[in-house]
Subunit: 139 residues, 3 copies
Amino acid sequence: MTANAHTFTVQTKGKGTYEITDEIERFVRKSGVTTGTATVFLQHTSASLVIYENADPTARTDLHRFFEQLVPEDSPDYIHTAEGPDDSTSHLRMVLTRSSETIPVVQGHLALGTWQGIFIFEHRRAPHHRTIVVSVIGS
Amino acid sequence: MTANAHTFTVQTKGKGTYEITDEIERFVRKSGVTTGTATVFLQHTSASLVIYENADPTARTDLHRFFEQLVPEDSPDYIHTAEGPDDSTSHLRMVLTRSSETIPVVQGHLALGTWQGIFIFEHRRAPHHRTIVVSVIGS
Amino acid sequence: MTANAHTFTVQTKGKGTYEITDEIERFVRKSGVTTGTATVFLQHTSASLVIYENADPTARTDLHRFFEQLVPEDSPDYIHTAEGPDDSTSHLRMVLTRSSETIPVVQGHLALGTWQGIFIFEHRRAPHHRTIVVSVIGS
């Protein structure tokens, strides 16, 4: 049994989804773990993680639009707006998705389904550096 | 310390929630782990996992109805609809719930609360085979 | 490699968010694990976990208000209301947030970002005892 940690950074271009599956799979292979888990953790409160359909880009277009409607930036209700209309709304979109995902490692690979990709979901309008920590535990 | 993985399939009958707590508890017992974690992972993007009230079925009726309203199938906004009005909406209902849950194992059992059950939340109208991977790590 | 479990209880005063980061960090340090994961699990279906902005309290005010609007208590649609208008709505607010979070442990500490705190999100009007199980696994 071993436990490894790996930290990496993704530069986003503002709102949208950015796939990080390959980077995580690479770290799993490098860890030498054949059976165990990979925990993906995003160290931010205005971006989040989603596991989402990664084949047809229209699925992600619908995702982006849905969150614009579910947590609208033009609502007069928010008071935490020091950094603009995407301040509180970024936190709320984050809290409706995920900060951590744990994916089984089977036969040395992430046990993802055929259509699953792991994405950073950026909620801020401006580009940001986003830091991801991956922990792989197993034997 | 050991790490085990177990894969099983559930046949759904279309939209609704399907409890899988017993299957996961059985695998935890079989693993021989007394202290650790059990990670439950669903390999799909049009179904999800929820931990939900498992005693009174009316709670789940409200859950099903709530998601029909929160992510309506009759919205003209979706463009990812090649497989029908339950295509993009299934992904969106998935992203608002979970792909993975990690539950502590204490004294050889899942440390669930009294009213907690683990469910597959099927978002497609048609029956589907759904694959779950469980990883148990601990000593 | 070791696996530890720790259970503790928080007394809430009814609806709102209650930070538990320090209690979890303390248990991580006590476990002696330097590289691994800490899984936080809440044993309830009418309260949930969120990782949220913990610096400016206005962010949490917006969170509380947003959930009152997203899952309104005065909707006539719910049938699971034996315990009042905060019965089904508590479950629905729970299912939109989290039951478990897994946070990497790096150099003996929770690898949280600068603005991230771990909170119990209480959805019931009345005060409740809430039980959290923490599992720390690693070396």
